[in-house]
Subunit: 168 residues, 2 copies
């Protein structure tokens, strides 16, 4: 169930993220300013900028998948500077998530998950998923979204949520 409640939705959110990046670029062109302004924007002087939010969303998703399944995560350099590089980072993350299958997550609920920062402490896989990975992913995506929203890019909740698989 952990897989079903994370990987497909994380992938969808990263696709949505890519789409509001595209909207931002169209808007920058229309309003005649450099996209770099948005990529380096933040809501407060002591907040990470837009690019760093993308990198952190990417890392959150990547390390979640890698830690819960016990597979080694690819190393990515955090050196993105341009619109294209930022989009590539998101796409690379989507591609990585798509390598996982439901069976890779079997038994991950009770696995002990730790990170280099936690000095030997751990969370169970279920706790890590609910209290760490999911809220962190939304944190960074929403911070990036809010930076755009505050700067007048016409993104809305529909862009954030993406398509719903409605049935009749």
């Amino acid at each position: 169930m952990i897989y079903e409640m994370t990987i497909p939705q994380f992938t969808k959110m990263l696709h949505n993220f890519n789409k509001f990046l595209d909207k931002a670029q169209v808007n920058a062109t229309e309003r005649k300013f450099e996209m770099d302004v948005l990529l380096n924007a933040r809501l407060a002087p002591d907040q990470f900028n837009f690019i760093r939010q993308v990198q952190l969303a990417s890392d959150t998703a990547k390390y979640f998948a890698s830690r819960l399944t016990g597979k080694e995560a690819p190393a990515w350099e955090d050196n993105e500077k341009t619109f294209e590089e930022v989009k590539t980072r998101i796409q690379k993350t989507i591609n990585y998530l798509e390598t996982f299958k439901p069976e890779d997550f079997k038994g991950s609920e009770t696995k002990h998950i730790t990170t280099p920062r936690w000095e030997g402490k751990y969370l169970t896989g279920l706790e890590y998923t609910n209290e760490h990975a999911i809220p962190n992913l939304y944190f960074h995506i929403m911070t990036a979204y809010s930076i755009l929203r505050h700067n007048g890019v016409p993104v809305g909740k529909k862009d954030y949520l993406g398509e719903m698989p409605y049935k009749k």
Copy 2:
């Protein structure tokens, strides 16, 4: 599993929300402005203000629990104006969530969930949880958080995530 991945974490996030509201009030007092300024603030002129974000986070959690379990949701008026009223709304939501038990959600994954706005269309309980309820809850909590962050209230990711149940 749906219960385990939602109700305890939704409750925790609403508690964290309450805590950053308290931080906001302390900060307003220190910086000598009315808390009302923050309660009515927004990041863009066409965005709902802070109070409305609280009401929408509350509704997201309330309707999630009620729709997935088939229990009727209490009606709340959306008439909060003061700091105390906003905090009461959050607490009321927490109290409501705490009335649910894991067994109330049995079989909810495959249930057909609809809302008055969807004109007869539906999502499965699992889709509604992952693609609607969870991202919407984080959307409104993070928008409220970002409004505070942008206005210089010293909230950070630790306040947002809350305590982690680390083990040794």
